[in-house]
């Protein structure tokens, strides 16, 4: 009987120890995630904002990317988070662009799209992307930054992504290739072409 009691006590203590380890592991993982997200959130927002040209859509994309990373990849090694996060963010940006395109098509076919009949309906003008930078940006950013943002937004998506991840976020070629889901050679090609296109378009601002 003593053997049974001892065995039960040992099992319980082992399970309690395992439970404590898991809690500590969770707390450490949460701290690492918080540090990572705090480090990338501003640049991620700017990348999404340049692609979408809309602050709310950019914020939604960043939040969605954060949630997906935490939900699906929190257990992965921390060094893999950056390429995973930016890959997720790019998918979120594409989803937002698709939703915007579909919404624009639907609204263009609706006879009441002008917003005169139903007061509860969302105002399409409010939902449309803002082609101009936000007022706060206009105050803080100069003419050069605005020109750069317009030029970046006009780039093909892959070139823009390669340029921002390599030059702005500072990912190396391999991490950028993981984030873009392509080869390192493709990253170099996209980056080089983006650089050439931006220089050709913005040369006057750097003269």
């Amino acid at each position: 009987m003593n053997a049974f009691a001892t065995l039960l006590a040992d099992t319980t203590s082992l399970l309690a120890l395992r439970n404590t380890d898991l809690l500590e592991s969770t707390q450490q993982e949460t701290r690492s995630l918080e540090s990572f997200l705090a480090a990338v959130e501003r640049k991620a927002f700017r990348i999404a904002q340049i692609a979408l040209r809309h602050e709310d859509d950019a914020l939604d994309a960043v939040q969605d990317a954060m949630l997906r990373l935490v939900r699906n990849y929190a257990r992965r090694p921390a060094e893999e988070w950056a390429p995973l996060f930016y890959r997720i963010l790019e998918n979120c940006v594409r989803d937002a662009q698709r939703r915007r395109t579909v919404r624009g098509r639907v609204m263009s076919w609706l006879p009441w799209a002008g917003g005169g009949g139903d007061e509860d309906a969302a105002d399409p003008l409010e939902q449309a992307p803002d082609p101009a930078p936000l007022p706060e940006d206009r105050v803080q950013a100069g003419e050069t930054l605005q020109a750069l943002e317009v030029a970046l937004a006009a780039l093909p998506a892959r070139q823009r992504q390669a340029f921002l991840l390599r030059n702005f976020e500072g990912l190396d070629v391999e991490a950028t290739a993981q984030a873009m889901g392509c080869s390192a050679g493709s990253v170099k090609t996209h980056y080089f072409r983006a650089l050439q296109a931006l220089r050709a378009q913005l040369g006057e601002y750097w003269a």
């Binding site: 949460t30 997200l37 914020l59 954060m66 949630l67 930054l145 650089l195 220089r199």
Partner: protein, 146 residues
């Protein structure tokens, strides 16, 4: 940056990077606040999912461990009376509970020695037994003959 860029392109890249970094550092307070809230929402979701997972593991593991221990305990109790090593212990002379009682009780030890000794005849008082037999016959003699 592993790409080989000409000096003009490298300078262009450096200036664009500084410009973009400055714009990210100078985000409005409202935007920074929303980003912080988004981060906390993600972290809360993570903590909730992991805590629920840990609790579920605990809730599964504890009954499983208790049942395993109970089964093992029952097996030990059932198998104990039939264990062969107990019988073997007394045969091979290993001290058992009976042996310890014999050692503690001096009289019992002497009796056991008398019973277990093969040449106990050397210590038997034959004269006493012969006297006892004859005395008994003498006591019974007159009664029988009369």
């Amino acid at each position: 940056m592993s790409e080989e860029l000409d000096p003009a392109s490298a300078e262009f890249a450096r200036r664009t990077r500084e410009l973009l970094e400055a714009s990210a550092a100078a985000l409005p307070a409202r935007t920074r606040s929303r980003l912080t809230r988004a981060r906390y929402a993600a972290l809360e979701q993570h903590a909730a999912v992991r805590t629920a997972g840990t609790r579920a593991l605990w809730q599964r593991a504890l009954p499983a461990g208790a049942v395993s221990a109970a089964v093992l305990g029952v097996l030990l109790l059932v198998a104990a009376p039939h264990a062969p090593q107990v019988q073997q212990a007394s045969v091979t002379g290993v001290a058992t509970g009976d042996d310890l009682e014999l050692l503690v009780d001096r009289d019992a030890l002497a009796l056991a020695q008398d019973q277990g000794t093969a040449d106990a005849d050397a210590d038997v008082d034959y004269e006493f037994y012969a006297w006892a037999v004859s005395a008994a016959q003498d006591d019974a003699g007159p009664g029988v003959g009369s």
